[in-house]
Chain length 126, copies 2
DNA sequence: GACAGATATATCGGAGTCAGATATATTGAC
DNA sequence: GTCAATATATCTGACTCCGATATATCTGTC
């Protein structure tokens, strides 16, 4: 089975943005969603239903690595467990993957742009 | 119900390319698929399973208009019905729609590019 | 001290988009 | 006559993303 890839960046732009954010340094989930929302003026919404399955998938693929942090509250009362945060960072494999994805994304966009600008493989008519 | 749009150009890039091709002038289905394949060096494949449902949908939305052509073969034998081609062209509404879609697409891509270039809403750290 | 709202993680079902397989008929080349 | 290319079209499944829902902790206000 040859298995041609599915029209390249059919692979979510959201995933690409997520990886890119992690490319700037480690982050935990909630912070990522806030940052993406802020950085896109609320246009790109990395909601929990998208974000966490995505992070799981990327972790399983070995592109990102995760570690738990227990945030101690200021007035730490004894019985409290403390809020938990899961920090994610790009693995070496993930870094390489990201670079390839960015290049592929840009190439694909350039291709689409050629069609938008009119012409795109126009049989040159006088 | 507020009904927020779904992360804007979640709306297929394929549809955008198809509309853009028709923006250059009327075409029939098969020619469109060949042109897109050629103009993208085989990367974007507008296969029948994607193309025809899309054309139907656009027609139903009133964005494109269709007319049948019967291609007379050179040595037209009597019994033959002749090959049929369905030509599509952009409607006025479709033209306006296309312009809007292109603008939205470019805005969205610019937004994504900001994240790829690193920074994207980075809390400016020293 | 009670309560609301923000923080923080996670799952599930459904809707929309695209790929691949399949089907049918005509035409042109060998 | 046979085969590949032309030309249309449908259907099923995979994958992505959205919206709703759930649980728990922390912070600010009254």
């Amino acid at each position: 089975m040859v298995s041609r890839e599915p029209n390249p960046p059919s692979q979510s732009a959201v995933e690409l943005v997520l990886l890119s954010v992690l490319g700037d340094g480690p982050q935990y989930g909630y912070a990522i969603s806030k940052r993406v929302a802020a950085g896109s003026e609320g246009v790109i919404r990395l909601t929990p239903g998208v974000l966490y399955p995505l992070l799981r998938s990327l972790e399983k693929q070995g592109l990102i690595l995760a570690t738990w942090e227990t945030v101690k509250s200021e007035r730490a009362e004894e019985g409290t467990a403390g809020r938990k945060r899961k920090w994610y960072r790009l693995s070496a494999k993930g870094r390489k993957h990201l670079d390839q994805r960015i290049a592929a994304h840009r190439a694909h966009q350039a291709m689409i742009e050629r069609f938008l600008s009119g012409g795109g493989a126009r049989a040159e008519e006088a």
